[in-house]
């Protein structure tokens, strides 16, 4: 039997070209700069509290990573949060039992996701178009149901999940995100499910011809994205203790930014959970650091935009230059 190695010989230099490594360097630099600029940055309480600001988005970013690796995109997640939050508030107002309330909330998100998945697979329409439509549709449903009213009463458990800490230190939302990140990393990188998702993202036609149920996977991924939007909705509603139809407005782009900055190729087929997790921390720490300097929100927006373009543009620019020199 011929002995073909699995990988080319390991070279230390290769690590430098890994996206995750570059992201990691960026994260460390941000941490160092932040702690030098603001005396308030390196404060355990502050750092823990800052996780509240990104944990809900981060949870959706995990499933969104799957969706984008499978060469799809979902612009309707924030609108699904609105729908699920409304269901959460409404079922609470009906006096349902806490568990039933949670179940129905999760169900509503799942159904929205399944609706996306069904239209995308049944009619073979690109997901970017379908979810532009359902983005208005879902949020519109939330508006038409709530009109000018709102909900501000939720089960105790929801409030605790959204704003509470485990052992007084670890926010539940953050904890959930970290645990899920491990689960998702395992699924994506170690199981046949993950490998099939990569195949679908790389070449959906070839995947279909290889017996992979492309439509089924696509459908399930969108459904899952809906489910996770509902989970995020529970944390967010609990944290805000208020549901209004404009909840989580504009989050879809922030979530996609998290994923793309994490090195997930927007046309599918490549990317890792580790990269996305690092990118979530980069964005979280960046906006927290700038917030400490009272740079207005728009400033943070500009930084994020630049970071997004440069993180992808710079390496490819260097690559082109090197190729020219060859």
């Amino acid at each position: 039997m011929s002995l073909i190695p699995d990988k080319p010989p390991f070279k230390l230099l290769d690590i430098l070209y890994k996206k995750e490594f570059i992201l990691f360097v960026v994260l460390v630099s941000i941490l160092i700069i932040n702690s030098n600029i603001s005396p308030y940055f390196l404060d355990l309480y502050n750092l823990i509290d800052s996780t509240f600001l990104f944990s809900e988005k981060a949870i959706i970013a995990l499933t969104m990573t799957f969706v984008i690796i499978a060469r799809q995109i979902d612009l309707s997640v924030a609108s699904i949060i609105a729908v699920s939050s409304v269901v959460l508030g409404y079922t609470t107002s009906l006096g349902y039992d806490t568990w039933l309330v949670l179940l129905l909330t999760l169900l509503s998100g799942t159904l929205c996701g399944a609706f996306n998945g069904a239209i995308i697979t049944k009619f073979a329409i690109p997901s970017i178009i379908v979810t532009i439509g359902t983005m208005s549709l879902f949020r519109g449903l939330a508006y038409s149901f709530l009109e000018d009213s709102y909900y501000n009463k939720f089960p105790k458990l929801v409030g605790k999940l959204g704003g509470g800490y485990l052992y007084g230190y670890i926010p539940y939302a953050f904890l959930t995100f970290i645990l899920l990140a491990f689960v998702f990393a395992f699924i994506l990188h170690k199981t046949s499910i993950g490998k099939k998702i990569y195949s679908i993202g790389n070449n959906p036609d070839a995947a279909l011809y290889t017996g992979i149920a492309v439509d089924k996977y696509t459908f399930v991924l969108f459904t899952l994205n809906g489910l996770f939007s509902a989970i995020a909705a529970i944390f967010l509603s609990g944290r805000l203790s208020s549901v209004r139809p404009n909840i989580a407005f504009g989050w879809e782009l922030e979530i996609i930014t998290m994923v793309v900055l994490g090195g997930v190729y927007i046309y599918g087929g490549s990317g890792s959970i580790l990269g996305v997790v690092i990118s979530i921390f980069i964005l979280g720490m960046l906006s927290f650091g700038l917030g400490l300097l009272n740079v207005p929100g728009v400033g943070i927006i500009i930084f994020t935009g630049l970071l997004l373009i440069l993180s992808i543009g710079f390496p490819s620019f260097v690559r082109t230059l090197r190729r020219k020199n060859e």
Partner: protein, 322 residues
């Protein structure tokens, strides 16, 4: 005959007609000439932006930054007009177009030279351009009383009782129609979008075309920057926020395929008209404002599904039935 019935533009036109008639029944005032002319005026900016977005979508890309570009160009000329109200309006229009073009070129360079995928690039500049408005204006708005009269007057000019905006949209329609159908540049855009690999063999320089398409998109965003500011006589960080999605919806409803290389200029205009019509008609009939978002989302989705279905029905035949 069957061909006509399956023609996308025709289907779209019929949908528009049906909605117009239905709304007319519910509220006869909606279909008076005055009201229709208002709808056309109101849709003009959308038409112009949809047409320029079409150029980008034709080459398999999307420009998510148009609304931010529009708002930034609009803000810059507004600020200038508060300092130099004596400058003629043409000066501001030209300047707005130039600024828009520059912002568009930056998109193009990032995509073509830096090889940052278009979604990432324009998602980034969507934020950057929007954020820059805050910095150039220091967070202040420019209100109607701060503009010179000349600055605002042009927009109220009317011809045949149709507004300046409408006629401008007509001019842009003709320009882009000629550009896409009767120039080498336009035809090469179609070939590049239809089959990018093959386009290389016929000498289409992909990078050049990407940059050109984005500069055109930027140019018209800049133009609309002036139009928007003058029409509403306000410039602020918030203007036209989220409008990029309306523009893209108009293109998609109009049958411009996001897979590139497919779509007609007429279809694009009809798509914009349909969306403009819905936006204007829903408030006019007695539908609660709270339902409008859901209904327009539903109609967009439906139009897309109908569009795709008619396209997919045309299957090729192998067997000759005998």
């Amino acid at each position: 005959m069957k061909k006509i019935l399956l023609n996308r533009d025709f289907i779209l036109f019929s949908i528009i007609l049906i909605i117009l008639i239905a709304v007319g029944f519910a509220n006869p005032l909606f279909i008076t000439p005055k009201s229709i002319s208002d709808v056309l005026t109101d849709t003009s900016i959308l038409i112009i932006l949809a047409l320029s977005q079409m150029i980008v979508i034709l080459i398999r890309a999307i420009d998510l930054s148009v609304a931010s570009n529009l708002a930034l160009s609009g803000m810059l000329i507004s600020l200038l007009s508060t300092v130099h109200p004596e400058l003629p309006v043409y000066y501001f229009i030209a300047l707005s177009c130039v600024i828009g073009t520059i912002l568009g070129v930056l998109n193009g360079i990032s995509i073509a030279i830096l090889k940052v995928p278009f979604i990432v690039t324009t998602l980034g500049t969507l934020s950057i351009y929007r954020g820059l408005i805050y910095f150039v204006s220091d967070g202040k708005q420019v209100y109607s009383n701060e503009f010179s009269e000349d600055f605002l007057a042009l927009i109220h000019f009317k011809f045949l009782s149709l507004s300046f905006l409408f006629w401008l949209a007509v001019v842009v329609f003709i320009l882009i129609y000629v550009l896409l159908n009767h120039t080498r540049f336009g035809r090469n855009l179609y070939s590049l979008g239809g089959n990018p690999d093959a386009a290389k063999y016929i000498g289409v320089n992909e990078n050049k075309y990407i940059i050109m398409a984005y500069s055109l998109s930027g140019f018209f965003a800049g133009l609309c920057g002036y139009l928007w500011v003058a029409r509403y006589s306000v410039a602020s960080t918030q203007i036209a926020i989220g409008f990029e999605l309306t523009v893209i919806s108009a293109c998609v409803v109009g049958g411009i395929s996001v897979m590139g290389g497919v779509g007609t200029v007429l279809g694009c205009v009809l798509g914009a008209l349909l969306i403009g019509l819905i936006r204007n008609a829903l408030p006019a009939v007695d539908i609660s404002q709270f339902w409008q978002l859901a209904i327009s989302g539903g109609i967009i989705l439906l139009a897309i599904i109908i569009n795709t279905k008619t396209e997919q029905r045309k299957e090729k035949t192998i067997m000759v039935e005998n």
